[in-house]
Symmetry: C2
Subunit: 449 residues, 2 copies
């Protein structure tokens, strides 16, 4: 789908001072807008990023056999009392009474509700296990000190998945399977593989056998991981005598500032036993798997941007795949239509037609680079001069994670451009820019934006 910049690009608000450069960029570039302490609206650009993220999650989890559901945001005290978490959750859980004075909460997570859901259904058949259900929905946490925008907001979007197996070994297998899906999402899809840190973690208030956290580096001092300089592995111990992997002494370990973007738990039967989710009389063995969807925006922007003038997101979730910048005299030329149709051939994530002809092409390239649009196509003087020949050319730039300036690929014909895009996305032999990521395949499957 083609979106016109004149209509589509809303100027961002002025960001308040914040230690988080990503938060400032997301506001200044018109992705989000604060509405109250710890609450944010997603503006059209931000909503597109979130929608793309959700589609990637839907595709990958459904491919793995998971089913999408939607549970209410509001939970009852009766339910949360069953696991004694009504009190344990403390003041971060938002509680209120309805008009009939029944105590309710805005759920920060849904182990109880999901377990009760399975317990309420007619008995499942052996062949239906493992049952893997997930939702992508708003969660609430009444932070004492909400900060860094979507990084620690009071309402946030979370993907939470719950699996139910008939025994512990099957549950472990499911745990490993979904961990592989996580690695595919963060690796192949979002291309964060090199920066992704997976550490064994404490299960905390969720309880259970084993748990892993997924972190990205960050300078916000929100969280940390330890890197052992001896063996190069990461761990999460608060007070560490020696590396749990290589037994090196504590002083060989460095504490790195990071943010958690996902957390997985092998819960065991804690919830199913209490709530009564059983198969043939035996409590089901559960895992749960979270991804902080809205948090991924600031987390990846912080990681991938090396300048506030060049915001970067993983390419698969950039708000548009390409911008076509057109000079005034070419606006009604057929080359615009030809270019957008060539671009749409492999780029299914939306194309921004930059029709802001009152701005110079140079300034608009600068703006597209500021938003981190992966392909920037310019139809200006070079194209205009080429129109008299048999083979008109367009000028092509690309933007890249951790790089501030757009990369200039010079003029090329539309045919050449199509193979250039193809090789950039799929890494075919005729040379690509980073190759081998399949988000476009996913978008093909899920449809264009």
């Amino acid at each position: 789908m083609i979106h016109k910049a004149k209509k589509w690009i809303l100027s961002g608000a002025t960001a308040p001072p914040s230690k988080s450069a990503a938060h400032r960029m997301l506001i200044e570039n018109g992705f989000i807008l604060p509405t109250g302490k710890g609450f944010y609206s997603l503006l059209p650009l931000g909503q597109r990023v979130i929608d793309k993220l959700c589609r990637i999650l839907d595709t990958e989890f459904q491919k793995a056999g998971a089913m999408k559901i939607g549970m209410p945001i509001v939970g009852t005290k009766t339910l949360w009392d069953k696991t004694k978490r009504w009190d344990a959750m403390g003041t971060e859980m938002i509680k209120f009474e309805d008009r009939q004075k029944a105590p309710l909460c805005l759920q920060p997570t849904a182990e109880e509700m999901c377990t009760e859901l399975i317990a309420s259904l007619p008995p499942l058949k052996k062949s239906q296990f493992p049952v893997m259900i997930y939702q992508i929905g708003d969660k609430f946490r009444d932070e004492m000190n909400p900060r860094f925008g979507l990084m620690r907001s009071r309402q946030f979007l979370m993907k939470d998945m719950y699996t139910f197996s008939t025994d512990q070994e099957a549950s472990r297998e499911t745990y490993r399977k979904i961990c592989r899906v996580y690695e595919k999402i963060f690796g192949q899809q979002l291309q964060l593989g090199g920066d992704l840190i997976k550490v064994e973690a404490d299960s905390g208030i969720h309880g259970g056998h084993i748990s892993h956290e997924y972190h990205l580096r960050s300078n916000l001092d929100e969280d940390f991981v330890n890197l052992c300089d001896s063996c190069g592995t990461f761990n999460k111990s608060e007070d560490l005598k020696k590396c749990p992997n290589c037994d090196s002494a504590h002083q060989k370990s460095r504490k790195l500032s990071s943010v958690e973007i996902a957390h997985t738990f092998h819960l065991g039967t804690k919830y199913s036993e209490t709530i009564g989710a059983k198969f043939q009389g035996k409590p089901l063995d559960m895992c749960c798997f979270g991804i902080g969807v809205s948090r991924l925006l600031p987390a990846t922007v912080d990681l991938l941007s090396s300048s506030e003038k060049a915001m970067r997101l993983p390419r698969a979730i950039a708000p548009f795949d390409a911008a076509i910048i057109v000079k005034k005299s070419l606006m009604s030329n057929v080359i615009v239509e030809m270019t957008s149709s060539s671009a749409s051939r492999y780029l299914k994530g939306g194309i921004l037609l930059d029709d802001r002809i009152e701005m110079s092409a140079g300034r608009r390239i600068h703006e597209a680079n500021r938003l981190g649009i992966p392909f920037i196509i310019v139809l200006a003087n070079v194209t205009e001069r080429s129109l008299v020949t048999q083979k008109p050319v367009i000028e092509v730039f690309t933007t890249h994670p951790k790089s501030e300036e757009p990369c200039d690929h010079g003029p090329m014909t539309l045919d050449r451009f199509v193979s250039f895009v193809q090789s950039s996305l799929y890494g075919t032999p005729n040379g690509g820019i980073d190759g081998n990521f399949d988000h476009s395949l996913v978008l093909d499957e899920l449809g264009s934006h």
Copy 2:
């Protein structure tokens, strides 16, 4: 995408007594599950219906130039006091205090927040108007007496759209434009045209100049429209001396039980003036447009089903486009793959592979008819016998709104089946079943499920 029934079809829970047959069907068929008074989980089948509805809305509103955003569910008293609606909303608005005793609410609607959003952005340019923004999100209303499931639940999914124009005449034009989009959604997309009742309505607590409600017939006595027997038009007057259209006397009017599925308002400057959303010093002229997304499930099921054994939804939002029922001895035959690939050619809304071989084909046809799956394909004895010939055949059934029994189209070759589907969907000359609806086109564009 192919989904296997063995894994995918969860048996529904037992429905409590309810006057709403749709509500009972949605529970018994495993679309929804109650979690508390007036709260429901969407099970995988129900979630698929909601996801399809959302995609139709996204496509149509974005085609019309609207931009999708996401506003927080939680609003502040400070904001709602600006329009004096904090108190006016009464006990149906869920209110609570955060840990710092700041009064907050779960928003039942978002005129205030959306107007403040526009007011907070840097000034918009003339060329950006009309600004049309919408969200699809959870809303809350603390009903004294929640009833009929998703029809009157305390949490519900709503599409709410807000438009901002520079003057009243432009705003009226936008109002008419979006009303046409509504008619396309309910007509061409959901095929409810013949049953859709649009009436002029009172603006109520939202205020403003003009307002229309969209209703469907229902036997729940939740709401009503008047039908004038003289001129055949509908109106919504509570106490009517004469028909507002033809001036006929009151006794010629019949009160029909109905449910409201959508409401549109030309609001004028009520909110923009108070909150300060202006263009060149003049308050913007606003409209707002709601669709009760989750409510559309029971509303359309009630309207389109003529038996509790044959639930019907608009074809565009049936959980699957087709079911392929396979007998045991054919499960690993290549005909299954050939059939699903033929079906996928035009049916992009998901295919259920019914691999429950322990059930007879007849019983599985019955089950597919119960769920209202539009195309039912049977690979059983007839197919098995035909496999020795050059042209294997499949047996084809279709289900239709307001009809209880599946329609038997007999055996046909795969080629014939593909043209049969094509003509059913697009009404090409070689004969269709209802023709001319374009939801498959939309799904093509948005991607397959």
